[in-house]
Every structure is written in C-alpha cells, then in structure tokens.
C-alpha cells in the first residue's frame, strides 16, 4: 500500500492497481460485468415471458399480414409456371396442364378450399369455381385447356389469371392494400377497391374520431375530479377514489347490463326525461346500440385511466404555487392557465395517450353496446379472425393500427417528450 501512495504522489501518472497488482480498471470492469450478469438473470424470466407472449405473437401477426401461402403451397406447378413466364403471357396448354394437375392433387389433399379462399380474398365469387372444378379434376384428360374450359368456362377469364398470378407469390402487400381500401387490378396496378367494399378507411377514421372524442370527454370529466381528489382532505378523497376505481372492480358484464338498463329506449334515463317533460314518448333518444352507446360506455370505462395519471401529477403540486401567482397579481383563471395547467401537462399527456391508445383498440364494449354504427376497427379485426377467417387481413389491419399508434407515440415524444410522461 505504501508504494501505491508513493506512485500516486509521484510525478508520473501511474496506473491504479488493486491490492494484488491487477490494473484497477479491468478489475472494476470484471466486477461490474458480474453484477450485470446477475441482474440480467433476475430479469430473464420476465424477458422470456415477454418474448413468448408478446414479441413472438406480434411478430407472427406482422408476418402473417404479408405472408399467405394458401395458394403457393397447394398449387406448386401453376406457381412454377407463373415464375417461368413473364406477366402478360397468355395461359397456354402447359399452364392449363399445371392447373389441372394442381387442382387434382389439391382436391385429393382436401386443400382446394384453402386455395379457393385465398383467391376469393382478391376476387370474390371464385371459391366455388375452385371447389367445383377440383371435384372434376381427377377425370381430366389432355388437352387440359379444353378439359378445364369444358368444366367451367370462367377459367378463361384473364382477370382470374391475373389474380392467380398475384396470389401465387406467398409474400404480398395485398392485405395491407385491402386494409386501406386499395386493391390491385389485373395488371397489378394499385387502384381503389370497389365502392361497396370500401369500409376500412371509414372505420379507421371513425375509430380515431371516436377515440379522440372519448379522450377529450375523459379529460373534460376527469380533470376536475382529479383536482378534487388531489386537494380534498384524505378521508373524502379516499371515498372519491373508490368511486373512481369502481369501474375497475365491477365485472364488464354487470357494467354493460347496467348501461343497457339505463340507456335503452325504455330505460331509466329516457323514462326520467319523459317523466320530467323534457322528451315526449315519440322523441325518446336511442342511446345504446349505436355510436352514442359506444361513446358513453367507453368514456365511463376509460375515465380512471385519465384520472389516475392526472391525480398523481396534481397531488404533489403544492397550493402555494397558485397562491404565489395570485399574490403576484394573476386572476384565478390566469393562475390556473399559466401556473397550474402547465404543471399538469405530463399527467394530461399520459392520460390522453393511455385513453386514446386503449380506446383505439377497444373491442368488447363496442361489440356489446355499439350496435352497427358503434363498431370500431377492432370489431372488424375480430370479425376477420373469427368469422371470415381471413387472418392475413386481420393481421394487416392490426398492423396498420399498431403503426398508427406508434406514429402517435412518436409524435407525442417529439411534442411533449416521453420522459415527461407520468403514469402514476
């Protein structure tokens, strides 16, 4: 130790060493690496959990939105023909031979429905063509062109061949195009989807609009309550807090049922309004099973997500700030706007972001009380997952939604700064 001190005192900037003579820097690095490894082991279970239950499924979903081998996997020969022949080649005998062979084997493997469904996504009314021709495929004799066309002359349709060429590529952007109401024509150019099939953009717009409206309503209703919570004496604020958290503690079905009881045409609210003479029997307002139902119920459910971050930001703001502002000559409104409000911005940001993102993806409430006009994009995703079984399209819509939310998050970061976010 004595010579170490001598080293330090000496003119040359000697390297620091540990007691056993190793350089201090590397010893320190080794000790820190060990601590880091141990810390990593601690978070490993969570990491695995997140990877397994979150990252992998999302990755898979994203992959599914651009990958669908329903056609390519089951129609290998025709797929090969599309590869060998450039776009615009008239389907010749070899093409029909490949088609006939693929139809036959697909029919035998009972995957012809999958193929038909895949083509049907892009061009409606084609699924039955595949299944019916598939049934006849085992009797096809050369020349195949004639045989196939005899089975069904719809096979001569150039649009069908164009579509088949598109779907023969397992990797496709078509689902994303469909998710924003676009489609490809026979030449592969991107065009607007037919008018009667344009629903997604409208639904996206509606979803964002309603989520925005709900966010605004939550802020409007939540701000005063959060302020009250933050300033009331503890025994009152505890009671109020319970009321605020009540939506969390009641079952969704109970809540929804009570909304139905309250809001339906013959419900409590309407009856009260009629009884007090504000409405008459034939001007009863339909407040459920439409957009209004979605908005009312979701505002109620998402309100705590606005109130809690606001509350956690407001609680530590001492009343002396507003008092100082008042003593400096600010009216109560100015003091609120210039002093109090800016300090609650992190809470407003966090609450708004939370409510908006939750609102954009909300599924169960609109499904239960939204009726037709109150359906949101998530209900459509669910429809494609459960009813139409077009998982690729569902995945593409979900991915668009995810992207929109991420853009929003990024915007928020640019405008307010994520480090200003205060969730509680």
């Amino acid at each position: 130790m004595a010579d170490a001190t001598a080293d330090l005192a000496g003119a040359s900037p000697a390297k620091l060493t540990t007691a056993d003579g190793r350089p201090l820097k590397s010893a320190l690095a080794r000790a820190q690496a060990k601590a880091r490894r141990r810390a990593f082991l601690l978070v490993l279970p969570l990491l695995l959990f997140i990877v397994l239950t979150f990252i992998l499924p999302i990755g898979q979903m994203l992959h599914r939105s651009i990958f669908n081998d329903g056609f390519a996997a089951n129609m290998p020969q025709l797929t090969q023909w599309f590869v060998d022949n450039p776009v615009g080649t008239e389907p010749d005998e070899s093409a029909y031979a490949a088609l006939a062979a693929d139809l036959k084997s697909a029919a035998e493997a009972k995957t012809i429905g999958v193929v038909g469904t895949r083509v049907n996504y892009e061009m409606s009314g084609t699924r039955s063509l595949f299944t019916s021709t598939g049934r006849k495929a085992k009797n096809f004799e050369p020349p195949y062109m004639q045989a196939v066309l005899e089975a069904d002359d719809k096979w001569a349709d150039p649009q069908l061949w164009g579509t088949m060429r598109q779907v023969s590529d397992a990797y496709t952007a078509n689902f994303f195009l469909a998710a924003v109401d676009l489609a490809r024509d026979t030449e592969g150019k991107i065009v607007q989807a037919p008018e009667d099939r344009r629903v997604y953009v409208m639904l996206f717009e509606r979803t964002f609009l309603i989520a925005g409206l709900i966010t605004f309503l939550c802020l409007l209703l939540g701000f005063p309550i959060a302020h009250l919570l933050a300033t009331l004496p503890l025994r009152y604020s505890n009671l109020l807090m319970i009321l605020v958290l009540l939506p969390f503690w009641t079952s969704l079905l109970v809540r929804t049922t009570s909304w139905i009881v309250l809001l339906q045409g013959q419900g409590v609210v309407n009856n009260t309004l009629v009884a007090t003479g504000i409405l008459t029997d034939d001007t009863r307002i339909q407040m459920i099973y439409n957009q209004m139902g979605t908005i009312i119920a979701m505002t109620h459910i998402l309100l705590p997500f606005m109130i809690l971050p606001l509350y956690s930001v407001m609680r530590p703001i001492p009343p002396s700030y507003v008092r100082a502002a008042r003593s400096l000559g600010a009216s109560s409104w100015t003091a609120f706007r210039r002093i109090y409000l800016p300090q609650t911005l992190p809470g407003i940001g966090a609450g708004a972001l939370l409510v908006f993102i939750l609102g954009v993806g909300y599924y169960i409430t609109p499904a239960l009380v939204g009726g037709a006009s109150g359906q949101l994009i998530s209900n459509l995703i669910a429809f494609h997952m459960q009813d139409s079984l077009n998982w690729s399209l569902a995945a593409a819509i979900a991915a668009v939604l995810l992207a929109a939310v991420l853009v929003l998050y990024w915007l928020y970061d640019r405008l307010i700064g994520i480090d200003n976010l205060k969730l509680g």
Binding site: R326, S327, G329, R338, I339, P342, Q343
Partner: protein, 366 residues
Amino acid sequence: MADTRADGFVVFDHVQKSYDGETLVVKDLNLDIAKGEFLTMLGPSGSGKTTCLMMLAGFETATHGEIKLDGKPINTVPPHKRGIGMVFQNYALFPHMTVGENLGFPLEVRGMGKSDREAKIKRALDMVQMGAFINRRPAQLSGGQQQRIALARALVFDPQLVLMDEPLGALDKQLREHMQFEIKHLHDSLGITVVYVTHDQGEALTMSDRIAVFNDGRIQQLAPPSELYERPKNSFVAGFIGENNKLLGVVEDIADGRALVRLPTGELIDATPVNVARKGQKTLVSVRPERVEYKPELLPEGAHTLEAEVMEFIYMGDIFRTRVRVAGSDDFVMKSRNTLGQRVLQPGEKIRIGWAPEDARALDPL
C-alpha cells in the same frame, strides 16, 4: 418611528378566524402596522401566524373583524388585486418557468410592455445579485439562490407591502444569517413595509422594528426587540424569548413600583411588579441569567440575596455559564462575561446571588 402607532398602513381590527367553526385559531387580533415598518410575527408552531398572514394576503377570510390596507377595508378584495408581495417558505418559484419568466410573471399579468419588463427584471435581479441566473430554471438553483429569486419576484412589481412566511426556514445557519442581513438591507433601502413570520427568536430580534409575539391565537406582546427582551409583559413572553430563570412565590409587599416576593423556602427577593397588584397574589418572578450577580459590591444597596450552591460551571469562551441550586431547584442559571479577573467558581461552592429590583419581573403565575 416604529413604536409610535403612526398612520396604520395595515390595520387588523378585532379580527377572528376559525377554520372549523368550533375553535378560534386567531382570537381578537388588533394590530397597527406603520408604513415602512418591519414587523415580525413570532410564536410557537400553531399559534396562528401563517393564518394572520394568509388573511392579510387574501387567501383566508376573517370570520370576524376587519383588515385595512392603506385605510381601505380589504376583506372583500381578491388576493390578486391587493398588490401585496409575498415570499413563501418553500419559495413557490414556478418550476416550468425560467428565473426571468418567474420575475416577468407579475409584470406580464399587469400588462406591462416587454422592454419595461426586461428593465425591471434586470433591476430586481441585480438587487439580489442574481443577474447572471436569468435563464436558469428554479430546479437548477441552490436553496439560497432560490430564496433570492423568490425575494426578487416579490419585489419586482414594487409592492408597498411584502409578506414573508418563514422565508429562511429551509436554509442553513450561516446562509440564514447572511440573508437576514440582506432582507433587512433591502427593507431599509426600498422603504417597503414588511410583515415577517418566523419562529426563530434570534431572527426576530435582529431584524425587526417591532415584534408581535403570538401564542394561542393572541398577541402576547407587541414591542420593539429590546423592550420585548428586557421587559416581557407576561411569563409566556419571558419564557419564549431568550433564556430566563423563573421563581414561583407570593407577593409579600408591594409599594413604589417595588414588590417583595416570598419564596416557598421563606427567603425574600426583590422584583418589579408587572402583572401583580396586591399582596398575597401568587407570582412568577423572571430574571435573565446575565442580570444575576454574585459579587456583593455590584449589587444595589439593600438588595435581597439568596443562598446558592454552585452545581456546574461551563466555560463557553466569551461567557461563563453557571448553574446553581437556589430555593430548592437546581436549574437556576447565571451568565457572566469572561472579563479580566473573573473568578472560576467550583462546584459545591456556596455563594450569595442577587439582582437589581428592576431586572426581576413579577409576572402572572403560569
């Protein structure tokens, strides 16, 4: 100047305050504060000092009585129209604004133009020697620096009256003493009226023109520092300000502004009657430690003395502090200056102590 109740710039007239409608936190407060005066409200925790200040600033309403500012009743004037500068204990600097913006705020809400504003901000910052910090945020300042900014902000719009609620409470001793000096200096040079709240008696004694000692919602005594220290009106004030010795006894005789008090041990002492008027009354005699003498030649003619036994002698540098047993209790303290030839008393030594009658005050028994 101060103790003449000049023009009553601020007047509390029979003011009462209750938060819950049951207990009075401020009971019948009457107080005249002259223009340019430095008045300190001093008192133990919970005695109602902050409440008085808040009523003056307009954040609490008096439940009874009237508060006047410059001759006009202000009970119904909202806080932002009172034009009173205020320094809070935690400074209350707006965290989302820079120092410059903090100072600009009161000018801005008064609709002052940008160039006027900048000139005033600069002047106020220079006043507290913080000109270089104009672009910092409050969080980037030390406690003492924040304190100065809070002071500058309370002064920047030229208020006639500035209220300070324990502004130095969060600072360390040295900085606190320095800031006391600076605040006092600003008060003198600007000619503003200051109402200052503290529970540090040293601070109150060094800074104030007059001190109002609060206890239990009442002003116990309102007087300049020297009078407060030397002529406390009651035993609370005597006990609260400075160190003092208390002797319980009964008035034996009272005549010509002199009282003779008999202690329970039978000994007699001299005192000046303050809160006693008749023979036979119980009283608490209060004597400052530095006024107690044990050298007979320094005592006035005919003064009564008490027998005392030295219990402890503490050398404190500039003074000696001697604890003696007197009249059955052993917490009687005397202080003597470390002058040339001052004797070091030994524990166990028997001495006789006494004081001039005017240095002992016969107060109400607590």
